[in-house]
C-alpha cells in the first residue's frame, strides 16, 4: 500500500504541474524535498539524544520498573484473561510504560514479546485473542508524555514555543486511550455474545 501512496503523490503532482505550468517548481521541490528530508533527520538528533540519555538514567534508577509496578492494577483491569503473574503480563506492562515514556524503539520489541506470550495462552493459534486485541488497541492509542519528534520539528521550524503542544497532546492521547479501551470492551462484548 505504501508503494501506491508514494507513487500517487508523485504522479498526481507531476500531472497537475503539467496542467498548471508549475513544472519548474516541481523540479525544485524534488531537490528541496531531499534536502529537507536530511535536515529534518538532523534536527531530530537533539531531542532524541536528550530523551534517550534521560531515559537511560530512569532505567538505571529503576524508574521504568517502578512505573511498571504502578501500572499493575491497570493491567489487571484491562487484561482480565491474563493471569497477573504470567510472563505475558510483565511484557504487556513494560510495553505500556515504554509507550508512555515515548521510547518507541524499546516499546516495539516488548510489544512483540507480549504477543508471543499471549499466543501461548491462546486456544486458537490463527485467531486473535481478546487480550491481543486489547494490546493492539492500547498500543495504537497510547498516552504520550513528551512528543519528542514533533517538538524537534517545531524547533527546526523556528517555533516561538516548541513545547506548547505538550498539553494538547496529553489531552488528545488521554481521550484516544479512553476511546480505545471503551471501543475494545464494546466489541469484545458483542463478539462474545455472537459466539455464545
Amino acid at each position: 500500500m505504501i508503494d501506491l501512496i508514494w507513487l500517487m503523490l508523485f504522479l498526481s503532482g507531476i500531472v497537475t504541474a503539467a496542467f498548471t505550468g508549475r513544472m519548474q517548481a516541481v523540479a525544485q521541490a524534488v531537490l528541496g524535498g531531499a534536502e529537507s528530508g536530511v535536515a529534518l533527520a538532523i534536527a531530530l538528533i537533539s531531542m532524541v539524544s536528550l530523551w534517550l540519555g534521560l531515559m537511560r538514567i530512569a532505567e538505571l534508577a529503576g524508574l521504568v520498573r517502578l512505573m511498571t509496578n504502578w501500572l499493575r492494577p491497570v493491567g489487571r483491569f484491562l487484561y482480565p484473561s491474563v493471569p497477573p503473574d504470567h510472563p505475558a503480563m510483565g511484557s504487556i506492562l513494560a510495553n505500556m510504560a515504554a509507550n508512555i515514556l515515548g521510547l518507541g524503539n524499546a516499546a516495539t520489541p516488548l510489544g512483540l514479546k507480549a504477543m508471543q506470550e499471549l499466543q501461548t495462552l491462546n486456544g486458537d493459534k490463527d485467531t486473535a485473542s481478546d487480550a491481543m486485541c486489547t494490546l493492539l488497541a492500547i498500543n495504537t492509542a497510547s498516552i504520550t508524555l513528551i512528543p519528542t519528534t514533533v517538538i524537534a520539528v517545531r524547533m527546526q521550524s523556528h517555533s516561538a514555543d516548541p513545547t506548547s503542544i505538550v498539553g494538547t497532546t496529553l489531552f488528545a492521547t488521554c481521550i484516544g486511550t479512553v476511546a480505545a479501551i471503551v471501543f475494545d470492551r464494546l466489541f469484545r462484548a458483542w463478539s462474545s455474545r455472537r459466539r455464545a
Binding site: I14, M132, S164, T168, F171, A179
Partner: protein
Amino acid sequence: MQQVLSTVSAWLLPVLVAAVLVAGYARRVPIYNAFVEGAKAGFGTSIRLIPHLVAMMVAVQVFSASGAMDLVVRALAPAAHWLHLPPQVVPMALLRPISSTGSLAFLKDIFQNPRFGPDSWVGQLASTLQAASDTTLYVITVYFGSVGIKNIRYALKVGLLADVASVVGSVIAVRILLGPMPGS
C-alpha cells in the same frame, strides 16, 4: 482549562528532567555517565530515518508545489468543514495511520507554508495530530504478523475508531488552548 493546558506544556518537560535526575542521583546512579551513554544512541536512531524522510519529503513537496495539494484540499473542504477540521490537515490525518514519516513530511510542509507556520492554529493542530496517534495499520500488521494470527477480529476497527477519537481530542484541545479556528 486553557490555563491548565499551557501550564502542563511549560512545566512537564522541566519537571520530568528534574525528577529523573534527582531520582537517579538518590539511587546512586552515575547520572552524567548514564546520560551520555544513553544519548549516544540518539545519533544513530535519527540518522537511520534519513532514507525514509528523504523519500517522503520529496513526494510530499512535489505534491504540494505542483498545486495538487491545493486541489485535494479544495475538494475535501466541505467534508472537513462539517467535521470542524481545517482542510489543510486532512491529507496528513489520512496518512497518519499508515506512515508516520509520511505524515511527518506533511507536518513539515504545513510549517514551511508561509500562511501557517508552527505556531498558527493549523500548525498547532497538525503538531498535536502527529504526536497524538500512532501508525495503526503498521502496528497491527507487525504485531499480528509476528505470531502468525490470520483472523484479527475487530482489532482494526477499534484502532481506527481510536484514531478518530484522537483527532477529535486534538481539535478540542487546540480549541481550548487557542479558541475556535480563525476564519471559520
